[in-house]
């Protein structure tokens, strides 16, 4: 909660990790309260039904490609957010980007950073109108100003530090500087 209040955080994506359905559902329900109270949209991974039940703001689709995206868009839009993730090629990115999604996310949600994702995200942001999110688990505050993308998703680089609150605040300052 403290991490989210103060900095301007657009959305909180709740990662499933290796939780089973029940554990994830409980987790989401708790985080919806916290995230929304802090003024962030709360986004669930893949599960449209859970997003609705828990009162989350949208889903982030990583599984099932264009088909799953269409289902999610049909179910949630225009009230909810639908984002496309797990993009492995430029062709995928373009196919997903055409489906009335709210953002296209490049890069893994956690773990190791993907060097190609940066390149892809920059290209996307230069050329297309659908907002690009670069997800960089190793994001560096100093590099934030160089980004062309509309959004930066931070994960391990905040949560695994000893002081997430000040790290998040530093990202916030850098992002505002870049704008």
């Amino acid at each position: 909660m403290a991490v989210l209040t103060g900095p301007e955080v657009a959305a909180l994506l709740v990662r499933r990790g290796d939780m089973d359905d029940t554990a994830y559902a409980d987790f989401v329900e708790r985080l919806v309260q916290i995230g929304q109270a802090a003024g962030a949209a709360v986004i669930v991974e893949d599960d449209v039904a859970l997003a609705r039940r828990a009162g989350a703001d949208g889903v982030h689709v990583t599984n099932g490609g264009a088909k799953a995206l269409r289902v999610a868009i049909e179910a949630l839009k225009p009230d909810g957010i639908v984002g496309a993730g797990a993009i492995t090629s430029r062709h995928d990115a373009m196919s997903f980007g055409e489906l009335d999604v709210d953002y296209v996310m490049f890069g893994p949600l956690g773990g190791k950073r993907d060097p190609q994702a940066f390149e892809l995200a920059q290209w996307w942001a230069e050329t297309f109108e659908v907002p690009a999110v670069l997800s960089d688990p190793d994001a560096d505050v100093a590099e934030t100003t160089k980004l062309a993308t509309e959004f930066l998703a931070v994960s391990d680089c905040v949560w695994s530090t000893s002081d997430p609150v000040s790290t998040m605040a530093a990202f916030d300052r850098a992002a505002k500087e870049a704008a």
Partner: protein, 413 residues
């Protein structure tokens, strides 16, 4: 539909096998004389044969691996909707990647998309930057577009001299539009020392490549004997060709030559037909009407011509529709010494089209710059070759068809 294409993809993949076994004597000699063979671009081969989906399938994996030629190929397929729905967003995305990887054609085409606002937000600045880059990389149509931008002087430094230099480079690379425009610049002394003979030569080159406006101008030069030896027969011939291609000005002048039998055997029937066709495009010319008004209304020739075109006899139509296009009138005289009203000092014989109010020289430049549909040529002759390959002529018709009408009408006003 998909099945036969899949099959073709497999065949294409098998094709390289014989060439891999490079040990026939003929192959060896060929390799000695010509050096090692360039690798075959199978995606482009399929593209050339019209197997667009096969080309797409072959190119996609290469494009994902940052192969610029393959990226451009895919962009072209999307830009023109070849076998897939036309999609300018995707085309722009792939052009952008290919452009970054150094493909100058992609840079140029991306510039065209920004120019028109197709698939990307419209931005003349960005398009000018891209044209500059492609032009610096030596891509000829980009040089031509840069020349026009330098004439326009908004998105590139205003400089007729730079424009003329670039235009000349493009003209010497045999781009018909550039030959025509560079010829006109030579005639007018815009950015270069005036030189009628050279000007006429360049305009003739463009005319011979089938550029309608150049044909009209070359005919006029022949008629006036400006920069070339006066030759009314040839003038009539070129007017005739341009008239066939749909130029209203040429139709009008050809009608006149036919009506009075100058440079060509008099033929009132044909004259009436061309007059009618010119009027349909909005070009009304009382001089020509007077030439034809003496034909009795029920004269067989005129009646037949008019019936053919489902119009009423010419003498009744002087005040009909088409009056909107009054501007066209001033452009019509092909006869030297008549209705050439150029007040330019020196009184150099002028081609009527652009010469009004004595502002010949500047008029051309400004008219060019401010008229957006005309400038940047969308000629697919260069546009549709993904790498360095030459494309077939099929595209040419498409391009000239696109260009003719607006351009010739644009010239008149």
């Amino acid at each position: 539909m998909i099945r036969p294409l899949r099959l073709l993809a497999v065949l294409a993949a098998l094709a390289p096998l014989p060439t891999l076994a490079q040990d026939t004597p003929a192959e060896q000699i060929s390799a000695e004389v010509l050096g090692p063979r360039a690798p075959v671009d199978y995606a482009f081969g399929a593209f050339q044969r019209g197997y667009y989906l096969t080309a797409f399938e072959l190119a996609l994996p290469r494009a994902e691996q940052n192969d610029a030629a393959a990226q451009t190929l895919i962009a072209e397929i999307y830009a023109k909707g070849l076998g897939v729905p036309e999609n300018h967003e995707r085309a722009a995305g792939w052009y952008q990647l290919a452009s970054r990887n150094g493909d100058r054609l992609a840079t140029f085409e991306l510039g065209m998309l920004y120019q028109a606002g197709l698939g990307v937000p419209k931005s003349r600045e960005r398009s000018a930057e891209l044209f500059k880059a492609a032009s610096d990389a030596g891509y000829v149509p980009a040089k031509y577009n840069m020349a026009l931008l330098h004439v326009e002087g908004i998105y590139a430094e205003p400089s007729l001299v730079t424009a003329a230099t670039l235009m000349r480079e493009a003209a010497d690379a045999e781009l018909p539009e550039a030959q025509y425009d560079y010829g006109s610049m030579l005639l007018e002394g815009a950015g270069v020392a005036p030189n009628n003979a050279e000007g006429a030569r360049y305009i003739e080159l463009a005319a011979r490549q089938g550029l309608t406006d150049a044909q009209v101008d070359f005919a006029t030069l022949l008629y006036l004997g400006q920069g070339v030896e006066r030759n009314v027969e040839d003038a009539a011939l070129w007017y005739g060709r341009a008239a066939e291609s749909g130029s209203a000005v040429a139709q009008n002048r050809y009608a006149k030559l036919l009506a009075v039998g100058e440079g060509i055997e008099a033929n009132l029937e044909d004259a009436a037909m061309w007059r009618a066709l010119a009027r349909r495009q909005g070009l009304v010319d009382p001089d020509l009407d007077r030439l034809l008004v003496s034909i009795p209304r029920d004269a067989g020739a005129c009646r037949r011509a008019c019936a053919l075109l489902a119009i009423d006899a010419p003498q009744h139509r002087n005040r009909c529709h088409g009056a909107k296009r009054r501007a066209g009138r001033g452009t019509s005289s092909a006869r030297p010494g008549r209705s050439r009203k150029c007040a330019k000092p020196g009184g150099r014989p002028r081609r009527g089209d652009r010469c009004r109010n004595g502002a010949c020289r500047t008029r051309r430049a400004s008219a060019r710059g401010t008229r957006s549909p005309r400038p940047l040529n969308r000629n697919r002759i260069w546009g549709n070759k993904p790498a360095t390959h030459q494309s077939s002529g099929g595209a040419r018709l498409h391009a000239s068809g696109q260009r003719n009408t607006p351009r010739s009408l644009g010239r008149m006003s």
